[in-house]
């Protein structure tokens, strides 16, 4: 076959191909676009997934029609591990659950064990717990605000918020030597007393942060693009939020004032004056805004706690290292930065727990994601996932 003939035949073939793919009437009526529903795998390794989260998105164009979440990639069987450790040995494991807010995890677990074994915590230790716990809430919410901005394309606030979080981590380092997994709160109190001058440093930091928050609100929450992306997206009513069992900021953003610090007071919170922040629209913007307001309330709490903190011991007397609580059950829960964090512990009178149930707020909040974001744009689902603020160490445990 000569080269010319070859070219001719290929041209004929090309014409045939073109005929085959010619748009028919039905597609032309559809403005020339052939559409079909696609399924997209999101994760498990995805930079916007806040951890190892796998979900199958069914998308129709840009609209997400169905979400099938698939979790368990970070399941480490902590509840089973707890059955093979003594009560004190399990405290470091709680650090690895919600690793953005380790201090509150220590606290919730110790609270449940103290209820079980009937241990009275000294007053100074309770105040120290409140101070470090509220600092942890500030640090966690700062991480939330920075990543929420980052997902909407705002990189500058990220640097500012992480700068402030760094100061909190430095304060923690002075207290317990660690920056991420603290293991500071122990059964019966806290591990060590505060170093000299630490309270003054903390007060100086929160005073500075209080002034800065005004600028930060304008920088991130008042930003035009941020508002455009967040306002009115994925709204949730109070009925829906209660039906789906949300807790923490996502529930309070719908107008339900459920805060464990007020409804089931623990530690010295009844002596401190603060407000439960509530917003009413329940959209992405409210879920983001409420965190900024909670930082301000936490600053209020820390200021009062530093004023009231008494001298005295920081660990209850007579708590043995090998603790053996009596037979029984106890449930202790606190308001972690993510919501209602509870531990249900069953004791059979041996030095090891018989069964431990960890109620992680991220787990309860994440299951509302499909109900919340089906029908929104694909790009907004990432923001909605971000405003639920799940930490997958806690979802999968």
């Amino acid at each position: 076959m000569s080269k010319l003939e070859e070219m001719k035949t290929s041209k004929e073939k090309l014409d045939e191909l073109e005929k085959e793919f010619e748009l028919d009437e039905t597609t032309e009526n559809n403005r020339g676009i052939r559409t079909e529903e696609l399924t997209i795998h999101f994760g498990p390794q995805h930079p916007s997934a806040h951890g190892v989260f796998h979900a199958i998105f069914h998308v129709d164009g840009e609209i997400v029609t169905k979400i099938e979440p698939d979790i368990g990639y970070l399941h480490r069987c902590f509840e089973k591990i707890a059955e093979n450790r003594t009560y004190a040995q399990f405290v470091p494991y709680t650090d690895r659950m919600d690793y953005v807010a380790s201090m509150t995890n220590n606290w919730a677990y110790c609270l449940a064990v103290e209820k079980l074994a009937d241990i009275e915590v000294p007053e100074r230790a309770e105040y120290i717990r409140v101070i470090v716990g509220e600092l942890q809430r500030i640090a966690s919410h700062l991480v939330f605000l920075s990543t929420a901005g980052l997902e909407a394309g705002a990189i500058t606030p990220f640097v500012y918020f992480f700068d402030d979080r760094e100061e909190i981590l430095s304060l923690y380092e002075k207290v317990c030597g660690a920056r991420l997994t603290y293991n500071y709160i122990k059964i019966g109190g806290v591990r060590a007393d505060l170093p000299d001058g630490w309270l003054d440093e903390t007060l100086a930091f929160v005073t500075k942060l209080k002034e800065k928050m005004y600028d930060y609100d304008r920088l991130l929450l008042g930003n035009y693009i941020f508002k455009k992306r967040f306002i009115g997206v994925a709204p949730f009513s109070a009925e829906q939020a209660l039906d789906w069992g949300l807790t923490g900021p996502p529930l309070r953003s719908t107008g339900v004032a459920y805060d464990v610090r007020k409804v089931d007071p623990y530690s010295v919170y009844p002596r401190l004056d603060f407000d439960v922040v509530v917003r009413f629209k329940g959209d992405n913007y409210d879920r983001a805004y409420i965190r900024s307001d909670e930082i301000k309330q936490s600053i209020r709490i820390i200021e009062q706690a530093i004023e009231q903190i008494p001298e005295g011991p920081v660990i209850a007397k007579g708590v043995p290292n090998l603790l053996t609580p009596p037979v029984g059950e106890a449930y202790g829960h606190i308001e972690s930065p993510r919501g209602d964090l509870g531990y249900y512990i069953v004791s059979d009178g041996t030095p090891k727990p018989y069964q431990v149930k960890i109620q992680g707020p991220s787990f309860g909040n994440l299951q509302a994601l499909p109900a919340m974001s089906e029908g929104t744009y694909f790009g907004d689902v990432i923001l909605t996932l971000g405003t639920l603020d799940p930490v997958f160490g806690e979802v999968d445990r």
Binding site: G72, D243, W244, G245, D340, Y344, Q359
Partner: protein, 181 residues
Amino acid sequence: MSDEIILSEQNNGNMPEKGTIVDEKGLGYTLTVDRKDLLKAAIGLKAAGFDLFLFVSGVDYPDRIKLVYRIYSTKRRNKVGVIIKTEVPKSDPVIDSLVPLWSAANWHERETYDLFGVIFKGHPDLRRIFMPQDWIGHPLRKDYSDDHMLVMDDGIKEKPAAKDEPTAVHKENTGRSDKNE
């Protein structure tokens, strides 16, 4: 607050007869019901304003699994949470699902099914949630064993020897690896 006040505010027609709410040490208000009465009690409590479902979990005993539910009321003036306890025998671990009442129960019941093997009747999508779908056994049961996962170094799945004769497998194993070398 005494249990009479909780009960008087409840829709008493729906409550099981034996159900009384007691203030248990370390737990707060607790309601213990039979498993056939669970759905009835849950409907009654929901009508009484308990609208927030927080979790369900199991406690494994040799012959039975105790189920623990925690629900909370945001509507009532005296804000209070209640723990519901019920038991299912291990030979027939079936209980009514509460998903029709609270959508939040969905994942929590899947978790309890995955880790304890409790079957929730009426659950719309009862699959494993943490473990892979083809996993064998329910890890949080006390009698759970993962011996079936044991793979010898030549890739053959083999049952480990009984405790009283630990040397048999050891010898066999070393013999095999010698041959391979």
